[in-house]
Amino acid sequence: MKIKVKFFASLRDRIGRAEESLDIEGSSVTVADVWSKVAEEPIPDGVLIAVNMEYTDGSHSLSEGDEVAFFPPVTGG
């Protein structure tokens, strides 16, 4: 399953890249599975998750071509 992964702000600095493309084996893949491919530690407290630009959480099941984003709390405005 092809998944695009994006990181923003302090999380991008911490992970060391802005995005990557993953090809994950299996038909049942969650956001947490994606995170475990890109980092050693569990998803840090406070990290926000979006799939296809809508907020969700680590248990979200992914589909082919989904875009997953991880980022710190927002500080706009």
């Binding site: 923003f8 630009m53 907020y55 980022f71 709390p73 927002v74 706009g76 405005g77």
Partner: protein, 150 residues
């Protein structure tokens, strides 16, 4: 409704007037606007410039969702949001929210709702350059204050 995310310096009041010129004349009654400006101090440190990161696509989408919610919830005529991204210098405008309504109270409530929820939901991240170097702002200072009207 109009939502703009831009990396160019913008004049918030020129935007309000330009947008208002396109609204049906004689109808509005009142407009409430909020303009947020880059400050040169934060948490006691002098800030020389700020970098505002965003998530292209998601940012615009979530600002639009907040505006649509405001248009459903209040009796307002229109809403305009302009938000800067990229490098920002002190005294430059960061965000403009303007709401037009025949009713003053609705204009105030909806404008406040849009800026408050935009700050909670729209993916933007501030990185400040101070005399101590660069740092990501971890949370907006006003988030602790429960100033969300319901």
């Amino acid at each position: 409704m109009k939502v703009v995310v831009t990396d160019a310096v913008f004049d918030p009041y020129a935007e309000v007037q330009k947008y208002q010129a396109g609204l049906k004349s004689g109808q509005s009654g009142g407009v409430v606007s909020f303009v947020g400006t880059m400050r040169d101090f934060n948490d006691g440190h002098e800030v020389s410039t700020m970098w505002l990161d965003h998530y292209p696509g998601m940012t615009e989408k979530h600002i639009e969702q907040v505006c649509e919610e405001a248009l459903e919830r209040w009796d307002i005529i229109d809403v305009l949001v302009v938000h800067r991204v990229g490098e920002i210098k002190p005294d430059e405008s960061i965000v403009l929210v303007a709401t037009w309504s025949a009713h003053r109270a609705e204009a105030f409530d909806s404008c406040r709702f849009v800026i408050n929820y935009l700050k909670k939901r729209a993916p933007f991240w501030k990185r400040e350059s101070t005399s101590k170097g660069q740092r990501w702002v971890e949370h907006n200072t006003e988030d602790a204050a429960a100033d969300i009207p319901d």
